[in-house]
């Protein structure tokens, strides 16, 4: 490794926090996944992030990996990016000229490239605090059960009405696109909103996902394999959301 000037940020404890403020959940960029894991069972936001946290790397990795690091790596395989997209997150940057707030989708510019300026760091990621009738699920496929890089993954956010069966809000985000930028799939979201959360709805959402999906082919897996696999992952995520919303 050869660098001119290396600045280690890991000691900036003021960027290590999770707080509920102004109707949002705000997470400091240097919060480690292990920090999140410790609070997952006794926090308002835990159930929206617990899938991603428990599947992240391994315990060893979680001790060191940070939320900001995962977002800024931006190589199209990161676990937290689809989750934060599904949670409608934005990021806050910090630089010489102050702070900027950018929706996460805009922040992701290209493979391994974000909208950070040369003099900026990522300071925080935040998302609107979801209602009690909402759920988020993250499903990931790799070559093992743990310590895996995602061949493909999907994050689903669903919010229902008082009956807990009619979907009023749906966000579905995937990674491993040909474009190398994780994104939401609006066609599937439209298929879900306004529908009753049922087997029929899940089936039609999964069918819709298979249409016009341009995932990447590389040495890990082909686009065809990823497309078939992500349909299964979407089904699992929708079922998991349903169970979480119904309190199971």
């Amino acid at each position: 490794m050869s660098v001119r000037n290396l600045v280690d940020l890991s000691g900036l404890s003021e960027l290590r926090y999770v707080k509920r403020e102004d109707g949002e959940i705000k997470i400091g960029a240097l919060t480690t996944i292990a920090d999140l894991e410790k609070q997952v069972d006794n926090s308002a936001w835990g159930k929206f992030l617990n899938d991603a946290i428990t599947k992240f790397g391994s315990p060893n990795i979680r001790s060191l990996a940070t939320v900001g690091g995962n977002i800024c790596a931006a190589s199209s395989s990161e676990d937290l990016i689809p989750v934060f997209l599904a949670l409608d997150a934005k990021v806050k940057t910090l630089g010489k000229n102050g702070t900027r707030e950018i929706p996460l989708q805009e922040f992701l510019a290209a493979k391994r490239k974000t909208a950070l300026h040369a003099d900026e760091i990522l300071a925080e990621v935040s998302f609107p605090e979801p209602s009690a009738r909402a759920a988020c699920s993250f499903q990931k496929l790799g070559m093992r059960n743990i310590l895996i890089i995602a061949l493909v993954s999907v994050a689903v956010f669903l919010e229902t009405d008082e009956s807990r069966s009619k979907i009023v809000q749906a966000r579905v985000a995937l990674n491993r696109f040909k474009s190398k930028i994780p994104q939401r799939v609006e066609s599937v979201e439209k298929e879900l909103v306004g529908q009753t959360l049922s087997e029929w709805t899940i089936k039609s959402a999964v069918e819709r996902l298979g249409e016009e999906l341009a995932l990447t082919s590389d040495y890990r897996a082909s686009a065809e394999y990823r497309t078939e696999a992500v349909k299964v992952l979407l089904r699992r995520a929708l079922v998991a959301c349903q169970q979480k919303i119904l309190g199971k």
């Binding site: 660098v3 280690d8 315990p59 060893n60 990795i61 060191l64 743990i146």
Partner: protein, 151 residues
């Protein structure tokens, strides 16, 4: 470092793994991959398992670190070490230091782990020889021994 303070001048690009092996002669920490995928470089840092190949030496400043050399002695092995022997849970032994540290750290925090919790605790360390079951059995047994001694 295993209960002793050290003051070292290091390069900014030196990893904790390099400092442990090359400067402090602690060869129990292995470099299996150098990319955080295998876990054979595992050490306990401030009560957490970390891959020392992913920690810059400068990031370890003022941290409490335990390597395998700091666990048990020839005369008094740690229960996890004894149990791994009893269960024949080591073959080539390359992952064993990391497995001991993972088991020890788990039992330090959770004295009565389930088998699922043991599996999770060692999930960051890959073993190509044993198939893991005997390692899990051993750690489960060690927990019982520690609980037995205390009661």
């Amino acid at each position: 470092m295993n209960g002793k303070d050290h003051a070292l001048v290091v390069e900014s690009t030196e990893r904790l793994l390099d400092v442990l092996r090359d400067r402090l002669d602690l060869k129990g920490v292995k470099e299996g991959c150098g990319t955080g995928d295998c876990g054979t470089c595992t050490v306990i840092m401030d009560g957490q398992l970390v891959n020392s190949c992913l920690v810059l030496a400068v990031q370890a400043r003022d941290k409490r670190i335990t390597t395998i050399e700091g666990v048990g002695t020839r005369e008094k092995l740690h229960p996890v070490q004894k149990a791994l022997m009893k269960y024949n849970a080591a073959q080539c032994g390359f992952c064993t230091p990391a497995m001991v540290l993972a088991g020890k750290n788990l039992l330090d925090h959770n004295p009565t782990p389930s088998r699922a919790e043991i599996k999770e605790a060692i999930s960051g360390v890959l073993c190509r020889c044993t198939g893991y079951y005997k390692i899990i059995d051993a750690i489960h047994d060690a927990a019982k021994e520690i609980a037995g001694v205390k009661s």
